[in-house]
């Protein structure tokens, strides 16, 4: 029972990471119908920024804040400078190639600047488990809570602020959005900024568990794809739930069925299964329209 609970909790911790990355993917997908293949590498690069800051002696949470801010701005710049011209001038396939280009650039850039050697990344949470329990480490618990806080802030932003509402409107109906005065182009850039910031948090939370190297996020991105598809690629909150489900499932299957070597295939099997049997995912939206 104790191992089972331990697997579940640690699955929830990684699941939160998948959920965050999946949410970042879905946010961009909703606004542009494009999957940002570079999302993981952007998050990895953000984590390196945090690592550099912490190594330079900046306190953890300050480094955290700076990294999130820099990533937010960086995401907006990438959208404005690279993605927008590509979308404007190129075909869908061309844009996909640009995404892959960005992926490779960030991966190589990280390797070039920081080298490919694996680095340990500090956790801001205490070493000792809470109340000395054996089910969940402090970092795992902290990661879960951090993820939930980020999700809560995002929910509040999209649900209750005029800007959040405008972003949702711009993603759904750009033409009408312009007619109420929303600057749709900026909403897209803002979406990219938010996605990059979420990715940065996910990267910093996962790095203490998997160690920091330029390929850190590649597996995680696949899990995040699986999560987004499972939850429904057009449903942000479905994809979040999908993230937690995938995280727990991955751990349980790894512990009781296949062993850890085949863990990643769980994600791939899930992707294929969802696409074949239920392409809308568990919570994919069915829009009711009356004429």
């Amino acid at each position: 029972m104790s191992t089972f609970l331990h697997q579940v909790f640690s699955g929830l911790a990684t699941g939160g990471i998948y959920a965050s990355v999946a949410l970042a993917l879905v946010m961009i997908y909703q606004a542009t119908n494009l999957i940002n293949f570079a999302q993981g590498e952007m998050a990895m690069f953000s984590t390196y920024i945090a690592w550099s800051l912490i190594n330079a002696g900046v306190p953890y949470w300050l480094a955290f804040l700076i990294t999130v801010t820099v990533s937010f701005i960086g995401g907006m710049v990438i959208e404005r400078v690279i993605i927008r011209p590509a979308v404007k001038r190129s075909s869908l396939l061309g844009v996909v190639i640009v995404f892959i280009g960005v992926l490779v650039i960030f991966n190589s850039l990280a390797g070039w600047i920081f080298s490919y050697t694996i680095k340990s990344f500090p956790s801001p949470f205490p070493e000792q488990a809470l109340f000395n329990n054996t089910y969940v480490s402090s970092h795992e618990l902290g990661a879960i809570i951090t993820t939930l806080v980020v999700l809560g802030i995002l929910y509040g932003f999209f649900r209750f602020t005029p800007l959040g509402l405008a972003m949702r409107a711009a993603a759904q109906n750009p033409v009408s959005s312009r007619l109420v005065g929303i600057r749709v182009g900026w909403m897209l850039a803002l979406g990219w900024g938010l996605a990059a910031a979420i990715g940065a948090v996910a990267g910093m939370m996962v790095a203490p568990m998997v160690y920091l190297d330029p390929n850190m996020m590649q597996g995680i991105l696949i899990y995040a794809f699986a999560a987004a598809l499972l939850g429904g690629i057009d449903n942000p909150w479905g994809s979040v739930l999908g993230g937690f489900i995938v995280g727990v499932l991955e751990n349980l299957i790894g512990a009781y069925l296949f062993g850890t070597e085949l863990k990643l295939s769980v994600a791939l099997i899930l992707i294929v299964a969802v696409l074949v049997f239920k392409p809308t995912g568990l919570f994919g939206k069915v829009l009711v329209t009356r004429v």
């Binding site: 033409v175 009408s176 007619l179 109420v180």
Partner: protein
């Protein structure tokens, strides 16, 4: 009367196809102007031109300043609200959110809740469906929503594209009655595009007739209504 909007020599094109040819007209402040014409005459395109939603040439002046080189988003900020062809509803958002979006560019955020209530007084049916997804509304309710959303801007000029389209006569009567109220009480100037000439001429005080992208006749509603040819071709008696 002072001209709120002056259009001169307006041309518009979709790709290589020109659909408006040298159109000129003015809209008086506080008045209701209607643009009549058959399908394909260029009515919708004229409205789109005013909001910079198509490529145009020529001069468009709003309150004396040129707006033909501005983006749609900027034009909205000047106080021009547009109820587009097809109503432009945000189908997946709630009625309430649709209305709030209408007030997105307004600076006086504190006055927005009051305006929301006012819209719900105009259209109590919207209030009943306040938290419902707008896509589930009937056609008439969606038109009410579209009109209310545009009014949430507190516009100086309201552009309406065929508000009667596809609606039951009773619903149309309601909507037109409220448009008249709004014009009289809030002094919102309107440009109404309609295929239903009878209805439009009843409401408007000025009218223009479009045929294949050209203004072929203009005058007060009275004059247009009494014109022999119009009566036969557009009013049907």
């Amino acid at each position: 009367m002072v001209a709120l909007l002056e259009v001169s020599g307006l041309e518009a094109a979709y790709g290589a196809t020109k659909v408006l040819h040298n159109i000129s007209f003015t809209i008086a402040e506080g008045g209701i102007t209607t643009m009549l014409g058959a399908n394909g005459a260029g009515k919708t395109t004229t409205l789109r031109s005013l909001c910079s939603m198509v490529r145009t040439w020529g001069e468009i002046r709003f309150e004396g300043t040129r707006i033909d080189n501005r983006s749609t988003e900027e034009i909205v900020r000047l106080g021009i609200a547009h109820v587009p062809d097809g109503r432009g509803t945000f189908l997946e958002l709630t009625v309430d959110e649709n209305l709030r979006l209408g007030a997105y560019v307004r600076k006086d955020r504190k006055a927005v809740p009051g305006d929301l209530d006012r819209m719900y007084t105009y259209f109590p049916r919207l209030k009943d469906r306040r938290y419902q997804q707008a896509g589930t509304l009937s056609g008439g309710e969606q038109q009410m929503l579209a009109l209310s959303r545009a009014l949430m801007l507190r516009p100086k000029l309201l552009l309406m594209d065929e508000p009667s389209f596809g609606l039951a006569p009773l619903v149309v009567r309601d909507i037109f009655a409220i448009m008249r109220t709004i014009n009289q009480q809030e002094r919102v100037s309107m440009l109404l595009v309609e295929q239903n000439a009878n209805l439009a001429l009843e409401l408007a005080d000025q009218a223009y007739l479009l045929e294949t992208g050209r203004v072929v006749m203009s005058g007060t509603s009275e004059e247009i209504r009494n014109d022999e040819q119009i009566r036969r071709s557009y009013l049907g008696y």
